[in-house]
């Protein structure tokens, strides 16, 4: 059997005359022994939890479990409410929803890891901001999530989804790529277009390091989710216009993995490089843990 690459999956979809979303659903049914209804219902549950997380931080400021961060989603929501945002409705609501999911996560609230907890804001923000503003049905949004998941499965298979292995390009990068594909699908683009969107988004995130302050999923993670969502929307918009990625999706995934391997351990979730060892990052460490970081 062919390998689990997008180029192969798309060929199979054409041969079987089914969509990418349908292919992923059927694969899951075959693998888990669940029915099509059960698989779709479970994804619906994911969408529900995503939606509460995307809104949970908007109406009142929330603080993280460590006390380091919080309140950005609320602040940005107020700002949009005043009509001050430079961005359009879709983009600004994606930003606030991504911030909200990530802040809910840091505050020990309930989220859907997608593909990870650290990058949990990107896919929900992109899918819900477009879905709500364009009055898409729940079914359409659920199908878009299957497209996103297919993209994530291929990245996980041939690269990695862990910041500890590949840096933040593997978490927020993978999430932006998944989200771009989902948005193209949601707006009626073809599966080929969705993969161009996924490729464009991932290309933009290549090389992004994982350097969380105090080793916690907060700084810079929360804001990276907001901008990861915007990367997804810009990439999807280009793909919907017919713009193509010169480098095919599968090859971008290969490049991402190779880059991850070349990253030093300090920049792979150890909290011992990049922003984590800035003057301010180190001071936060000392305040939080009561001792200076031993480098």
């Amino acid at each position: 059997m062919a390998e689990f690459w997008m180029s192969e999956i798309i060929k199979e979809c054409a041969r079987q005359r089914i969509s990418l979303a349908e292919y992923i659903i059927r694969g899951e049914c075959e693998n888990s022994g669940s029915t099509r209804e059960q698989v779709i219902e479970k994804m619906g549950k994911m969408l529900d939890v995503m939606s509460s997380a995307a809104n949970g931080g908007l109406e009142a400021p929330i603080r993280s479990n460590s006390g380091l961060t919080g309140g950005a989603a609320y602040q940005y929501h107020q700002y949009i409410g005043q009509g001050s945002s430079l961005l359009g409705t879709v983009m600004s609501s994606a930003v606030e929803m991504a911030l909200s999911c990530s802040e809910v996560n840091a505050a020990m609230g309930r989220i859907v890891a997608c593909p990870t907890a650290g990058s949990c804001g990107i896919v929900p923000a992109a899918v819900l901001s477009v879905g709500v503003s364009h009055q898409k049905s729940r079914e359409d949004m659920v199908m878009a999530l299957f497209v996103a998941t297919g993209v994530g499965m291929v990245i996980g298979e041939h690269a990695t989804l862990a910041g500890a292995d590949g840096g933040c390009q593997a978490e927020c990068g993978a999430a932006a790529s998944m989200a771009a594909a989902a948005v193209v699908n949601l707006m009626g683009g073809s599966d080929e277009q969705a993969l161009h969107g996924a490729a464009i988004a991932l290309k933009n995130m290549l090389g992004l390091v994982c350097d969380p302050v105090c080793g916690l999923v907060e700084i810079p993670c929360i804001k990276r989710n907001a901008i990861g969502a915007s990367t997804a929307l810009v990439s999807a918009d280009m793909a919907l216009a017919g713009v193509q990625s010169y480098i095919p999706f599968d090859e971008v995934v290969t490049a991402m993995y190779a880059i991850g391997k070349q990253l030093p351990a300090e920049l792979r979730e150890t909290g011992r490089g990049g922003l984590a060892v800035t003057k301010t990052g180190l001071a936060m460490y000392e305040t939080l843990f009561g001792t200076p970081m031993s480098l």
């Binding site: 659903i25 059927r26 549950k45 020990m108 609230g109 890891a113 939080l288």
Partner: protein
């Protein structure tokens, strides 16, 4: 089996999922799941627990809420229960004593070398029984129990395991396997362990299919049998349905 659809090594809900309480799938969700499994292994009865934390767990447990998550799991909460945040007060209400012990020096058993996210539970149950359970959080909320009362095991929740402690003597193992055979339960992996200077032996069986409580009762009746623990496959989909 000839699959019609390629899927690779991740399932759909490994990528979009799990539903969990943040902030970290390995340090929070995985920790809660380990706590929950440790509780089941201790027959759902925990009076006192010491959490020995190794590796990255020892370093960052406070910020990631690993402490709250482990304790919540021990109290029977699921990785997606919002009650994780209030685990300390919940423990107080239920009269469960707990201690967190970050271990930074090498241990005799070398638990710190198994995985960067490792925890050892030392549990005393309501009736004074002591359990020693070691588990690792593998990432993405997935976990593995690697040791149960000194026996090395490999339990991820995906297939059931049966652990027995019995007086060492001829025929006991045959009696256990024949009870399983009657129920057409295949054994995937098996290990027997007898400590030196001990009259008891521990047996660890990984099963290919689910077994009923009746099987456990039958095994319990075997002369010389001291203790039987059945760890059922963990199917969380059922309880997920209760999330509003």
């Amino acid at each position: 089996m000839n699959a019609t659809y390629m899927t690779g090594s991740y399932s759909v809900f490994d990528i979009t999922g799990p539903i969990m309480v943040g902030p970290s799938s390995s340090h929070t969700a995985g920790a809660a799941r380990l706590g929950k499994i440790a509780r089941i292994l201790a027959h759902n009865s925990v009076k006192k627990v010491t959490f020995q934390l190794f590796g990255s767990f020892a370093q960052t447990y406070k910020g990631h809420g690993t402490d709250k998550a482990l304790l919540a799991g021990i109290l029977g909460l699921n990785p997606w229960d919002l009650g994780l945040r209030d685990a300390f007060s919940l423990a107080e209400k239920q009269n469960v004593e707990y201690i967190f012990e970050p271990v930074t020096k090498p241990t005799q058993q070398g638990w710190e070398n198994y995985h960067p996210n490792t925890v050892r539970f030392l549990i005393t149950s309501e009736n004074g029984e002591v359990f020693d359970i070691v588990g690792c959080s593998l990432g993405g909320g997935k976990v593995r129990i690697i040791s149960l009362n000194g026996i090395l095991v490999n339990f991820t929740g995906e297939s059931p395991i049966l652990v027995t402690r019995h007086y060492d003597g001829p025929g006991i193992i045959a009696a256990i396997t024949s009870i399983l055979y009657q129920d057409k339960v295949n054994i995937g992996n098996m290990r027997v362990d007898r400590k030196r200077h001990s009259t008891t032996a521990d047996m660890y069986l990984e099963l290919d299919s689910d077994v009923t409580e009746r099987v456990v009762e039958e095994i319990q009746k075997i002369p010389g049998m001291l203790n039987v623990i059945l760890l059922q496959r963990i199917n969380e989909d059922q309880s997920l349905n209760n999330i509003e």
